[in-house]
Symmetry: D3
Subunit: 233 residues, 6 copies
């Protein structure tokens, strides 16, 4: 059994699609997310002529990613959970990019979940950042993280509270059992980008909060190393 | 000028609509939200036959609530921000209710913003709780907070980081200037229900997080008193 | 009991929202409508370059305005009744404005029903005219009704036929009992703008028509006085 | 030139579609409407178990019915004009039927405009009534107008005010020139079902109203005879 | 009983609508389709500035065209069958037109089915071609088939396999009984434009394919003669 | 360069998703389709109580599957091409299954295109059949192709006409250059399930048709062998 302070096994395959180098197959335990970053030489209407670019994300679960099968989102109404997740991914990625240095270009990061076993939103951020970094390198020749539009890296992890025990990187089973679920998004340099702690039908106190944040920092540090390894290949 | 650790002026008018005692006009500075709780003697399909009830919320800004006028949401696609807010309100209210004690009944809390000047989501939670409490009293005769379905009260407040200064209860102007915006939802007994800290194009560290949480607790304590006064009338 | 030729008690509160002077809280018995007029310095595409402006209206009932709660209109399909009512409000307001004198500007009059007890469409017209007049005054300095874009005032009232008895200003209970329901919209100077007489599963003859029109004229004259008082403050 | 108190040439072809005897091709000048009544052995959910039936109408203009071509209504949003018209047709037809005598059956009257030259809504009512009467005869053997579910016949006509002149049965050209447009729906026995008088950017007085109603009555009487002839074949 | 290699009775009425000469009422047995071609002096955005035109088709069945009544397509989602059919009609018509000779103009061919008894898609192509040819003659003066934008004529017919017997021009009853249904679209000069052979829950072999194609060619030749007669009037 | 009668390199990976054995990653040249078959113990409403099952398919291209990025289908309107393709996949799979032997169960075959380089619909059928066969084996223990619900196998391939040359298995480049594009779907035993030959702005004659069909048969025979190998592992 996995220790409660250890990440699931992570495998990262960059350039998964021949047609797009900025495509990353990100596996974290049984969770599999295909992240692709696409560069477009335009910006949304409300940014036109401002000399800066834009980064956005779209998130989707394939019907076969869950059991029982998830119905395909074709009603014209993206469900609330999906909307929240893709907004979170977009904000997280934008926290580490200087949009002015991107010029009037957009990058869309698509995160399509092929198999879901908990942690799909944090996998999307961690894997999506790698796809983004590759796309930025292509858009701005000679750039790298910290040297060009990207000011830092970003990664995300979940922590949970089950009774009084704190656990890192919740898979579906752990997530279902947790009283409180917290997603922490941090930069490679150790600053918070976003904290979302939620106790559906439960609450938590200061001590528990402190424990969860401490564990999250450890997880983020581990993920940051994996990102650096993959990007330096 | 308002001190940075002080709430805006709050006015609460319960029974605002003659046709529904569980209607609350909640004012917080210039922000005005009409919260109404409606009891329905049925539950959503996925809860039928489980002997428990449901609480949900809907949030909407009236077109005239902002300047320039906000377009009415009639495209069939509720925008992402609205979806996030109403899911947050619903989760927050459900954190302080024992749904089994509600029987197979639903309560919908509608939060319609008549005038928006920052803090509409936190006003919706704080005012919406009062409407909910009145509706619960009607549904379960003789019940009150702590004695019946409601296990505690819940309130919400925003805190912001501007440079290195921390501010309580952001109005629109303060919110626009803030680098980091954090919404804190807590029970009357002082436990966290939800923490959402977001730095769009900014980040924060441990110290700043601690300062923001401390200030939020003070604000929640003040709001809890106001809720108790109104409910004991 | 209210005499059959007398209006319900009317209360008008202009400047209800601090952020918009052209906001009017209109109460007529238990019916409460918030009317706000918003000026936009553009016209719909089909009017561009024609040197004239546009006035339109949107009507909506808040979920808490009725008991049982009215479902929020979020399907992307505005229901037929709502469409009819907002088209009627728009036509009525346009009947008393010289759109050429408005320049290429639009005014949207939002009528949001906070509490519904019959007569919401006529309240929206009568109250909406006041909001419109304030917005026009702001758009065209020095203008007033009869002197500037507004050529006249407009007000609306319902009359009903119950058996052979004619009644003015139907509340929900009277409206439900009526065999024939007629909405009459007239200018302050006493000309018809629109007559809509409908007998769902009932019919009416010439005499009954004459009686209903006579009573409606009395009601319109009373409302016109109230509008003038409020606008001359 | 047609006298101002005379109807356009009317041609009625019942049983136009071999597959449905209750199909009527109704021509009025150049306006052509195909009216078909379809019987369904069920009622809308809100009428189930009440022992009465329902009559409703749908109205649609074919793309080739106007020049330039009218875009097909496939956006999922039926436009406001269409909604108003089909609600009017439905109410008018229901005014002459005793729904209890229909049993728990529904009749849908479809009015599809093949060619539009003004007066499509009144043609739909006048022609739609014939289709309805045939369908009722089939549903309730031995019934006829006045003897069975149908208590009377119903027909509709437009009248217009152009300057101070009053005109009957407006085609597109006359309708465009008219200051005030009034649609009058009456029973065969001469009672009003609905009056809709509208002055878009114009108003009218008592005398003008009286003249318009008088002319409308003449037109309705003429149409009623044509309906009786067709139904007695 | 109709021989298995003979078409149903075809009747073609050009100029059916006074307002548009390019309107054709096409009857084939009990199937009735109203085809109207409308010329628009613009092209879709993706063709702008390329010096060529566009031809497209829309297909629709009226509610009264089938028994039981077909629900009107107002959900905003055109059903799959309708989409397939109108794409097929458009491709078939474009196969015989030189879009460069049309200039930057569009022609929309609307095919509205008034009565459906099998073969509505093939009737739409055969009748739609006549409407198109009339519209092209109007758009490009002096042009005719083979001399101007239209390089050839096009017609369509169905053939079916029932057991081992092959049948031409399936009406609803024959179509329901057929194991394999094949639609063949050919030019007047005898070349294939499109072949669609489908065995829902059945399959076919080379011999059967050969027989079906042979019979289809005979049917197309007969239809081509009828088209030529109508266009030479 | 690949000979014109040879398939692209095909790679099939069954059980690609740990959570569902009936998941197949199908590669054909650069085209990659993830096919997953999901069993549901219910049937669509129109099949209830008839003692037979249902097989349907859904097709989708991921945004990153093409360059430039394909917009995600979230408008509520599935585009016409997608609708046609998924209807074709469904019909093709149903041609080789005895739905009565499936009992009242449904199988949904999802075909999600990860990378698109031509032939995605034929890959979806060929790969989708393998996923279907695995799901059927699980649903009906002891069954295999020809022994149980599946009466035969099914595969699909495209052939094209470029000038007078015929080519097998068109990739994107070949497809764009082809004058005529034909998709042929056949059973493992060599019978036609569906033929769709389309010449957008081109036509073809009998000889060309014969050549295309001959080449398609060779391709189908090769694919059938690959399917058998994979299923016998």
């Amino acid at each position: 059994m996995r220790p409660s302070d250890q990440l699931r096994d992570v495998q990262i395959q960059r350039g998964y699609l021949e047609s797009n180098p900025a495509s990353v197959l990100y596996r974290c335990g049984k969770t599999i997310v295909l992240c692709t970053a696409s560069l477009e030489s335009s910006v949304p209407p409300w940014l036109e002529g401002k000399g800066k670019g834009w980064v956005t994300a779209e998130y989707n679960m394939l019907p076969g990613s869950t059991s029982p099968r998830k119905r395909r989102d074709r009603s014209g109404k993206v469900d609330g959970r999906t909307t929240e997740i893709q907004r979170l991914i977009g904000r997280s990625l934008r926290a580490v990019i200087d949009l002015h240095k991107l010029g009037e270009n957009s990058i869309v990061v698509d995160c399509d979940v092929l198999q879901a076993d908990g942690g799909t939103r944090t996998a999307s951020i961690t894997g999506g950042f790698i796809a983004l970094a590759i796309a930025v390198e292509q858009a701005v020749a000679g750039s790298s993280v910290g040297n060009g539009p990207l000011t830092d890296s970003v990664a995300a992890i979940s922590v949970g509270l089950h009774g009084d025990e704190v656990k890192l990187d919740l898979d579906y089973e752990l997530d279902s059992a947790a009283d409180v679920d917290m997603n922490v998004i941090m930069t490679g340099s150790g600053r918070f980008v976003e904290i979302q702690g939620t106790g559906e039908e439960a609450t938590f106190d200061d001590d528990q909060l402190a424990k969860m944040l401490k564990l999250a920092k450890k997880g983020i540090a581990d993920l940051t190393k994996l990102q650096q390894q993959e990007l330096s290949r």
